[in-house]
């Protein structure tokens, strides 16, 4: 049993999905989805612990030996990402019960869980696989299911957002496919470890460079790197609340993982950073993304949209850490993947609670909601403080290491930029806080009650995580450090 954990990680939700499709009954599907999500989390944690203790786990699918067969590989980096994805899934699943029942028509509820499980399976698959083409397959599994999930949003704009995402996402995935095809053309292999070996003598090749470009741009689309982010705000804003939480916490993170995996493991540090101005280009895009998207976020009047723009800006911080091309920078970026997942998940969870009660997340609609839903909005506030980077929250630890990494490089202006842009976060978080606590509720709305416990508990688990990982960081910082060193060490 133990040695089959890597495949179970992916196959459990993959099998549960058609089971749900057969059952169709909303509550039963919810139960299955929740149990599977929790099992996935348990498996992910076990895998990470194994990877941290005993080094990389390799699992040959159907005992076909790599590089001919497909291989699943769990090392410190993707073990870390697996835990993030599974943890967000485990929080979202119980939360979805009331949220989905409220936002979706009765007959779609069973289907929602089918799609959710498929999406989870796809995201876990992307992360765990050691085969380049397999990444594409899982990428499409998760993407197709997330297009459908987003289209389930209550407003018709959700359909349009899903369509736009479908077009952009497919272009991104196809770019990635071209890149993988070029690599296969040059090396005749698809196994990542084998690719890395075969690519070493080909460092000067223009075709490999083209492959690099296609893969990075393709995943950049999925990752919503500025300026390829245009699909994201609409998708997050109009998707059902549970979907916003899930995607905000997982989808972009997994795409970033793929970029990291290709940059460091497949192409190699030397090729990616030394051979071409990749680092500076990334730096510029990251900074532009942070500044522009934070500013745009300030001018949003729908809180979910505001959070979505903030997500694009936060992706910039992760890329910023990566663009330093140092172990410390990489560590800061990885850490921010984790910390951003918990803070943004918490914020979207809180907004889901508000949406459940008010049917809207617009600033004028949430006026005065802080008094009516004190627990929900207190959770929002704490996660918001984490987003700003106030000490004793997870966000502070991210900021600390990012600034440290920038100073280590001697890049004072970048360090200054990191702290200045977190002031923009103060502005947009405080816009919501002022609306929720200091404005009178609109006259038309009656009093609303606190969100149900089944939604509050997941929210507060995430809030507690935000506080916990601001204090006790051995679970996040040390793992991020181990993963960063492993990535850097693999190439030096």
């Amino acid at each position: 049993m133990g040695e089959h954990l890597p495949i179970l990680q992916v196959i459990l939700p993959l099998i549960a999905a058609p089971v749900c499709l057969l059952v169709r009954h909303g509550a039963v599907c919810w139960l299955i989805a929740t149990l599977v999500s929790w099992l996935c989390l348990a498996i992910a944690v076990l895998l990470l612990m194994q990877a941290l203790d005993g080094g990389t786990i390799r699992y040959q699918l159907g005992s076909w030996v790599a590089p001919w067969g497909i291989e699943y590989v769990v090392d410190r980096l993707n073990g870390f990402i697996l835990v993030i994805v599974a943890a967000v899934g485990a929080v979202v699943a119980p939360y979805a019960l009331r949220s989905v029942a409220e936002e979706l028509p009765e007959r779609q509820i069973g289907l929602f869980y089918v799609l959710y499980l498929l999406c989870l399976s796809g995201l876990l698959g992307i992360t765990i696989t050691g085969d380049a083409f397999n990444v594409f397959v899982f990428l499409e599994i998760s993407s197709l299911s997330s297009y459908a999930l987003i289209s389930m949003g209550r407003h018709r704009k959700a359909l349009h957002a899903a369509y736009q995402y479908l077009v952009m996402g497919t272009i991104g995935a196809t770019f990635f496919l071209i890149g993988v095809g070029l690599l296969y053309l040059m090396t005749g292999t698809l196994n990542m470890a084998d690719l890395a070996e075969q690519l070493k003598p080909l460092a000067g090749s223009r075709i490999v460079l083209a492959a690099f470009g296609f893969i990075v741009v393709g995943m950049g689309l999925k990752l919503a790197v500025f300026p390829l982010h245009l699909w994201l705000p609409n998708a997050y804003a109009h998707a059902p609340s549970a979907v916003s939480v899930f995607l905000a916490g997982t989808a972009t993170k997994v795409s970033l993982y793929v970029v990291l995996r290709f940059i460091f493991t497949v192409f190699g540090f030397e090729f990616s950073f030394a051979g071409q101005p990749f680092g500076p280009a990334l730096l510029i895009l990251a900074i532009a993304g942070i500044v522009v998207c934070s500013l745009v976020a300030i001018y949003q009047d729908d809180v979910k949209r505001l959070l979505a723009w903030s997500s694009v800006a936060q992706i910039g911080y992760m890329l910023l850490g990566l663009s330093f091309a140092t172990a410390l920078g990489l560590q800061a970026g990885l850490l921010h993947i984790f910390n951003h997942a918990i803070m943004k998940a918490g914020l979207f969870l809180a907004m889901g609670c508000v949406f459940l009660r008010l049917g809207s997340c617009r600033l004028e609609a949430i006026a005065g909601v802080g008094r009516q839903m004190p627990w929900t909005m207190a959770g929002f506030l704490l996660c918001g403080l984490s987003l700003i980077g106030v000490p004793l929250t997870a966000g502070f630890v991210s900021k600390w290491y990012l600034v440290l990494a920038a100073l280590e490089k001697g890049w004072w202006p970048v360090a200054a930029l990191i702290v200045l842009t977190s002031l923009l976060a103060v502005v947009y978080v405080w816009k919501v806080v002022e609306a929720a606590w200091f404005r009178e509720p609109p006259g038309t709305a009656g009093r609303v009650g606190e969100a149900p416990l089944v939604m509050l508990v997941p929210l507060w688990i995430v809030v507690a995580a935000n506080i916990w990982f601001g204090f006790e960081t051995s679970g996040s910082v040390d793992v991020a450090k181990a993963a960063a060193l492993a990535l850097m060490g693999a190439v030096e």
């Binding site: 630890v397 600034v403 360090a415 702290v419 002031l423 103060v426």
Partner: protein, 504 residues
């Protein structure tokens, strides 16, 4: 009980108090009892700690390590102990005062008020006892955030606007300037611990030291150096007990306290002297202390005048540190305590006047001395202390600061100090004079509040006893500090002695 446990208690008592206050929210008498019990307990712990510190102990506590190599650590040196003592003692007094003030004025949301007050005191303790820069930073930010609901207590458009200024400046400067300064210090020195003689010394060029000092001084927005003082007058929209304890004692003193600690334990006064980085700071502090006094002269609103007076007095402490001599640091440390007692008395008086007569503007205060003799007498004592005249405790601290300025040859600074004292007298004494000697104003030009208009009788009309007794106590405290200033000096002596390799 060990020192570490006592520190943990000092941090947890206000937290637990806040929780209990929230629970007791529906029963005001129980809630206020909890507040006072918490305040008393906190003061007792502080006294117990102070006894240890007097014996030469250094109580310390390490909790966790959120970022590699930098734990959350507490360690008490004399200056922090003094700050903790002053803040926790004045909290007791303020708690009584708050009861009188909040009830007499029929303020809403009192549970939130008392709970946030307790939390703010917890944050103050964290700042006072912090053993390294990271812990200081955490306490500092927590103090900003816990006082924000107090500043915006009235929840109207005006207080929301003021809250924005407050949060924007304090959070903004701390994240944009103080945090990078701390990270840079970590990069340079490899430690963030406070150590006698400083940690930056020998790790950076003079230029970097200068830059770093700038980041620190403007990053610590709570010290209200011009031009980042705007938040302090803005914070005056809060109920008066908040202005009294937090914006005359806890918050602003946290600012100058951190400034002194950074100067003494991070840079070290020797480094400040040798690099010459302190000279621009002396300039800015001097300008602030004169300019703020001038602005105070122009303010008709009593609380606004007091706020600018505070800005000016804070600059004294910064100046004292920037002079980088033992006299200076001693004067600065003492001024934290002296000004705390003086200014809280003044704010208490302002609140008492508002409660009893509903007057907020200085021009309306003609003849109120006859209606409120005790209050106005206390006001006089507080004003003398803040201005630095006997029999107020402020005399001594200003004396030492002037001595330091003269000793280092900054004659212009000495002149500025004299000028500032004159200005202090100029903006305080008209209030006192008007209160006693001017004819009573016919009707208040601008009556504030929903309470019944004050009676036109010439008889006594003091604020409730809950207000009157605390302000008399703090006024007496000002005089006591004048008499027992020597003991204060002894208390701070261990810190002063370790300051420099050079003599006094």
């Amino acid at each position: 009980m060990s020192g570490g446990e006592l520190i943990a208690l000092a941090l947890l008592i206000p937290l637990a108090g806040a929780g209990l206050i929230a629970l007791a929210g529906r029963r005001p008498n129980l809630r206020e009892s909890v507040t006072i019990a918490t305040a008393l307990l906190l003061f007792a712990v502080n006294v117990r700690l102070a006894v240890g510190v007097l014996d030469g102990e250094t109580p310390a506590l390490r909790v966790l390590e959120p970022v590699e190599g930098v734990p959350i650590a507490f360690s008490i040196e004399p200056l922090g102990m003094l700050f903790g003592l002053v803040a926790s003692f004045l909290w007791i007094v303020t708690s009584f005062y708050s009861i009188g003030y909040m009830r007499a004025n029929g303020e809403a949301r009192q549970t939130r008020f008392y709970a946030c007050f307790a939390l703010a005191l917890g944050a103050t303790m964290a700042v006072a006892f912090s053993g390294n820069l990271l812990t200081t930073f955490i306490g500092y930010e927590a103090l900003t955030l816990t006082t924000y609901p107090l500043v915006t207590h009235h929840s109207d458009a005006k207080s929301v606007r003021a809250g924005r200024t407050y949060l924007g400046i304090l959070l903004g400067t701390s994240i944009a300037l103080l945090l990078p300064a701390i990270v840079a210090t970590w990069m340079l020195a490899g430690t963030l611990d406070f150590r006698a003689g400083g940690i930056v010394s020998g790790t950076a060029s003079d230029g970097v030291v200068l830059l770093l000092l700038g980041l620190y001084m403007f990053g610590i927005g709570k010290a209200a150096l011009m031009p980042i003082h705007r938040w302090l007058p803005a914070a005056m929209v809060a109920p008066t007990p908040v202005s009294a304890l937090l914006h005359a004692v806890a918050v602003v003193k946290a600012g100058v306290f951190v400034v002194l600690k950074v100067i003494v334990y991070v840079f070290g006064i020797d480094l400040l002297n040798s690099s010459g980085a302190g000279s621009w700071l002396i300039g800015i502090a001097t300008i602030t202390l004169v300019l703020a006094s001038v602005v105070a002269l122009t303010k008709d609103n009593l609380k606004a005048r007091l706020a600018y007076s505070t800005v000016s007095q804070l600059a004294y402490v910064v100046l004292a540190g920037a002079l980088a001599t033992q006299w200076g640091v001693l004067g600065g440390g003492m001024h934290i305590a002296m000004h705390a007692f003086g200014k809280i008395t003044l704010f208490f008086c302002a609140g008492a006047i508002y409660t009893a007569l509903h007057k907020t503007e200085v021009s309306e205060m003609g003849g109120i001395g006859r209606a409120m003799p005790v209050t106005m007498l206390a006001f006089l004592v507080g004003a003398l202390s803040v201005a630095g005249l006997p029999p107020g405790g402020g005399t001594w601290s200003k004396w030492y600061i002037a001595l330091a300025a003269a000793g280092t040859g900054h004659l212009i600074v000495v002149g500025a100090l004299m000028l500032s004292t004159l200005l202090n007298v100029a903006y305080f004494m008209p209030i006192v004079a008007r209160a006693w000697f001017a004819p009573q104003a016919a009707r208040p030009a601008r009556s504030v509040g929903a309470m019944a208009a004050p009676r036109e009788s010439g008889g006594l009309q003091e604020a409730p006893l809950f207000c009157l007794i605390p302000l008399s106590l703090t006024a007496l405290g000002c005089i006591a500090l004048f008499v027992f200033a020597g003991d204060l000096e002894t208390f701070l002596a261990p810190m002063i002695d370790g300051l420099s390799t050079r003599g006094r």
